[in-house]
């Protein structure tokens, strides 16, 4: 007989799980955490490789010549930006037209629910300018996007200059099989959202925008450029998008391949790749990179203008130019060549990028782990929940029930509600009660069982019993859906009868609250980025993170704020309920 159908074996298994419940939970927790940390260890990762056949092995000789001219255009752009005090729409339209693109503009406006903490915006009005380079011989069915945000002040001028320089160079080539859209968006993410919504004719966030006059077919890939200096020392690739979505790994592979070919220093998460993976510092470096990526994804906000493309299944990434104190500088022509090479490769695509992974974690630009490797860590943490659910009382109870009850009540028992005793025939109920009364002493995490029992006499009114049971069932069901904190908290709260215990449990509960967890994460995040902040700065950052989270939800449809507010926070409140139940 099988393991679970043989009653003797099943009873033995249940007994084992019951006896060793807490140790197994602890072991699972440690294993889960260890597995996750082990992912950054280089022998456990895979080297990145290009999966898409069409973007194959052959490289083209890049010939972009006009880096200096691009920088001059950038300076012109900066001057006009200062003059108009915002986006120099007319100058941009004229310049793009002189380069042979079809230019269109889009106006948009949005009123934020409350003023932005970072940028002090409340009523946002702006204009996006975009020019379409039509493929000389191809039908207008597919497009690629190159965008640079127009930010106030002295930022990103070189990016716009390079964009215009590339537009002029691309216009003279005959080998484009897709249209290329050069987009300069105002108010970065808000403008980008307006443009995307206008392009795809969707209106999910209630923004007000004028319809787009010119269109280019379905967008296959997009790159966003952020360049604020004439020379760069390294290029940073930003992948995380809205709601933690990532572009196809092939886009990162493409970027890395060209970095290697052209010889530019490339980073991800702002951290440079190290070769000494077997040393402690090398390993911790990789862990930091991976943790940064995981935390950025968890925050749910788009970390570059590209983040909003991902929702439309357009693979997009942001390339940031970083100028730090390094000897070897890369000039604008080289950056232009890198982009030219990437676009020529993307030009060869026949279908959307889909051959490589969509869910992955990168410990450096050349190593990654896919979801098949990092999910077991979370699976192990989920096993703890199952173990908790199926802990002592419930399992023996289940066994009793299995043997003596009707199928219908068994189904109810399998509902997954801890502490719910099976309903049904009175005779069966007595048996279960009898079994149930023996529970409380051993029930870890099911302390409520003994509280349920007194309220449910077989002789009490059926209706009242039904209602009470239903209410308790609803509350207990919510308990089932908590994270791994629940396991530990439950084990603590289960034995919380004495006041000192209660105080300790209360303290732990406060520490593990969503608010405190977020505060710690903010400090941890800053530590990982090697920019540690003082407590006051950290507190201000924390407040801005909260407000930004709410704004992200209102502006772009980020899901983190509703998730925390509607799921995590009520569950945490329920724990107080458990803690102080009389």
């Amino acid at each position: 007989m099988g393991l679970l159908s043989d009653p003797n074996r099943r009873r033995a298994l249940i007994g084992l799980l019951t006896r060793l419940n807490a140790p197994i939970c602890v072991v699972c927790y440690m294993a889960g955490v260890a597995w996750f940390m082990g992912l950054a260890f280089e022998p456990f990762t895979l080297r990145t490789y290009m999966s898409e056949n069409a973007m194959g092995s052959t490289m083209v000789e890049e010939r972009f010549p006009a880096g200096e001219r691009a920088l001059a255009t950038g300076r012109e752009f900066a001057a006009h930006k200062k003059k108009t005090g915002g986006m120099p729409v007319d100058w941009l339209v004229k310049t793009m037209q002189s380069r042979g693109l079809e230019v269109f503009t889009q106006r948009f406006s949005r009123r934020l629910p409350f003023p932005d903490e970072d940028k002090e915006r409340y009523m946002v009005k702006g204009t996006n300018v975009y020019g379409i380079l039509r493929a000389p011989r191809a039908p207008r069915t597919e497009a690629l996007v190159l965008s640079a945000p127009c930010t106030a002040g002295d930022h990103n001028n070189q990016a716009v200059g390079l964009l215009l320089g590339l537009a002029q160079y691309f216009r003279n080539q005959v080998y484009w099989a897709k249209d290329i859209i050069f987009l300069v968006n105002e108010h970065d993410l808000i403008g980008m959202q307006a443009w995307l919504e206008g392009y795809h004719h969707t209106n999910t966030t209630g923004m007000d925008w004028s319809p787009l006059q010119g269109r280019g077919g379905s967008i296959q890939a997009a790159l966003s450029l952020e360049l604020s200096s004439d020379v760069v020392t390294s290029l940073d690739l930003v992948l995380e998008g809205l709601n933690g979505q990532l572009p196809n790994l092939d886009l990162a592979n493409l970027f890395y391949a060209f970095c290697q070919k052209i010889g530019v220093l490339c980073t991800t998460q702002g951290k440079l790749q190290r070769n000494d993976w077997d040393s402690v510092s090398g390993y911790s470096h990789a862990v930091q990179t991976m943790m940064l990526m995981a935390m950025k994804q968890a925050s749910g906000r788009p970390w570059g203008d590209h983040g909003l493309f991902l929702r439309y299944h357009i693979e997009a990434a942001t390339i940031k130019g970083i100028n730090s104190f390094r000897q070897y500088k890369t000039d604008a022509t080289t950056v232009g060549r890198l982009l030219e090479g990437m676009y020529r490769k993307l030009n060869n695509l026949l279908e959307r990028l889909h051959q490589s992974y969509f869910f992955y974690l990168m410990s450096s630009l050349s190593h990654f782990v896919s979801i098949g490797y990092y999910m077991p860590a979370f699976g192990l943490l989920g096993v703890i929940l199952l173990l908790r659910v199926s802990s002592t009382g419930y399992l023996t109870q289940f066994d009793v029930v299995q043997r003596s009850l009707h199928a219908k009540s068994i189904v109810l028992a399998l509902d997954g509600d801890a502490g719910l005793r099976p309903v049904g025939h009175g005779a069966g109920l007595e048996g279960a009660e009898a079994g149930g009364r023996a529970l409380p002493g051993r029930a870890a995490g099911l302390h409520r069982a003994h509280q349920l029992l007194p309220g449910l006499h077989p002789g009490s009114h059926a209706g009242a019993r039904g209602r009470l049971r239903h209410a308790q069932r609803a509350k207990v069901t919510r308990l089932q859906r908590l994270g791994d904190r629940c396991g530990s908290v439950r084990s603590l709260t289960s034995r919380s009868s004495s006041p000192p215990r209660r105080v300790l449990s209360a303290f732990v509960l406060v520490v593990l609250s969503p608010a405190c967890t977020l505060l710690f994460s903010v400090f941890f995040f800053q530590e990982l980025q090697e920019m540690p902040v003082s407590f006051l700065d950290g507190w201000m950052l924390y407040l801005s993170v909260i407000s930004q989270g709410i704004l992200d939800h209102a502006l772009y449809g980020s899901l983190v704020y509703p998730l925390v507010a509607l799921l995590v926070y009520p569950c945490w409140l329920l724990f107080w309920n458990i803690l102080f139940w009389k």
Binding site: A54, T58, A135, V174, W176, A177, R344, N348, L350
Partner: protein, 389 residues
């Protein structure tokens, strides 16, 4: 005296010449074919398979240069690389990097293009089972005196060749198609060249006579591409065909290179894969088969004042079996048209085998077609028969 000496010299000279003429004329049709056809197929599409189209076009170019006209070439290209949107040099297909050689040229005639290149169309072309509305340029109108060159390139595997990313032709199908061709008397000799990965598996199953096959790689090996062009961004040619093209560039219509030289093209040091060939089904000695027998369409001309007596043009090759001395039965085509009957009936009324009747009055060079008919005995029309005396 002197005049006598001169006359005797002249006589010997003439007799020597006539012996020479007989030899030369005897070599005219030593291969037994009178016309040449070529079927050149590229089976893969998409921009990154540029090299397969370049392969096929370079063989097309060589074949055309050596004399086979477009009307006798069936060119099947599965994708249009010259006019692909991604081609930085539109209307060209290059086979050498730095754009040295444009194999597309001005006068390419593609017979099957794009999605018309399918397994079904290919087999129909080979076997001749095409609907009556098919234009002549899309037909392989070969007969039993045709030497056919078949060149296939694309992506292949062990026992199959992939057409257009959606279907495959297997080696069994191909062998059966060739057998159909033999039974329908659609070829005299056939040279089959394939440049794909594991290409040797495609000729393993052949069983029809008069076939010679070459492949660029053995089973389990990959055929590799030769060189990328950094301006176009793709690999331009496959190695085997690149070296084949180099070899063919040295061939001119009068060259006497034979098949043994073709087998030496692209050794393992250049090709990385091991090219293979198969000659056991070929009835002549490969050393006696000229390259131009298959790759070119050569019209030999000899000027003479002599009457040439054409006897059996086909020389039987010695069957060199190492271990066994099998008596291999040699086959020839059955007489279709009893010309001898008709002619003898109209002229004399009785058959006179073995003699050359001068139809038309001049007997300088008699096409062997007529010669065959004259030497066939009447009552053996419907059955296979021994080689005529």
């Amino acid at each position: 005296m002197k005049i006598l000496g001169l006359l005797s010299l002249l006589a010997t000279h003439l007799s020597a010449n006539s012996v020479n003429i007989e030899e030369n004329a005897g070599q005219f049709f030593s291969s037994g074919h009178t016309n040449n056809w070529a079927v050149l197929v590229c089976t893969s599409r998409f921009w990154f398979n540029y090299r397969h189209v370049a392969n096929t076009l370079s063989v097309y170019r060589s074949v055309k240069r050596l004399g086979i006209p477009d009307s006798h070439i069936v060119l099947m290209l599965a994708d249009d690389m010259a006019c692909n949107h991604r081609n930085p040099k539109p209307a060209t297909v290059f086979s050498h990097k730095n754009m040295e050689l444009n194999v597309y040229g001005d006068d390419v005639e593609v017979d099957y293009r794009g999605y018309e290149v399918t397994v079904e169309n290919f087999l129909r072309v080979l076997t001749g089972r095409l609907p009556p509305s098919t234009p002549r340029s899309k037909r392989l109108l070969s007969d039993d005196r045709s030497n056919i060159l078949i060149y296939l390139t694309g992506h292949g595997g062990n026992g199959f060749l992939k057409f257009q990313d959606s279907e495959e032709i297997s080696n069994v199908e191909l062998a059966d198609a060739f057998q159909q061709m033999w039974q329908k008397r659609r070829y005299n000799e056939l040279l089959f060249i394939i440049d794909t990965c594991q290409g040797a598996s495609m000729y393993e199953r052949f069983y029809s006579p008069n076939l010679m096959a070459l492949a660029s790689s053995q089973v389990g090996e990959d055929s590799l591409s030769h060189q990328p062009d950094l301006a176009i961004g793709v690999h331009l040619m496959d190695r085997y065909t690149f070296y084949l093209l180099e070899f063919l560039e040295d061939i001119h219509p009068a060259s006497k290179s034979n098949m043994n030289d073709l087998f030496k093209v692209c050794p393992k040091s250049q090709c990385v894969s091991t090219p293979g060939h198969r000659t056991d089904l070929f009835l002549r000695d490969p050393g006696s088969a000229l390259i131009t027998d298959f790759f070119g369409s050569v019209r030999k001309v000899e000027i003479t004042m002599e009457t040439v007596n054409l006897t059996d043009p086909i020389e039987q090759v010695e069957q060199n079996f190492v271990n066994e001395d099998l008596q291999k039965e040699s086959y020839s085509y059955v007489d279709q048209l009893p010309v001898s009957e008709i002619i003898h009936q109209t002229l004399a009324g009785e058959d006179a085998p073995g003699s050359i009747v001068a139809v038309g009055g001049n007997g300088l060079v008699m096409p062997p077609v007529f010669h065959f008919y004259f030497t066939v005995t009447r009552h053996d029309v419907a059955t296979r028969q021994e080689e005529p005396d």
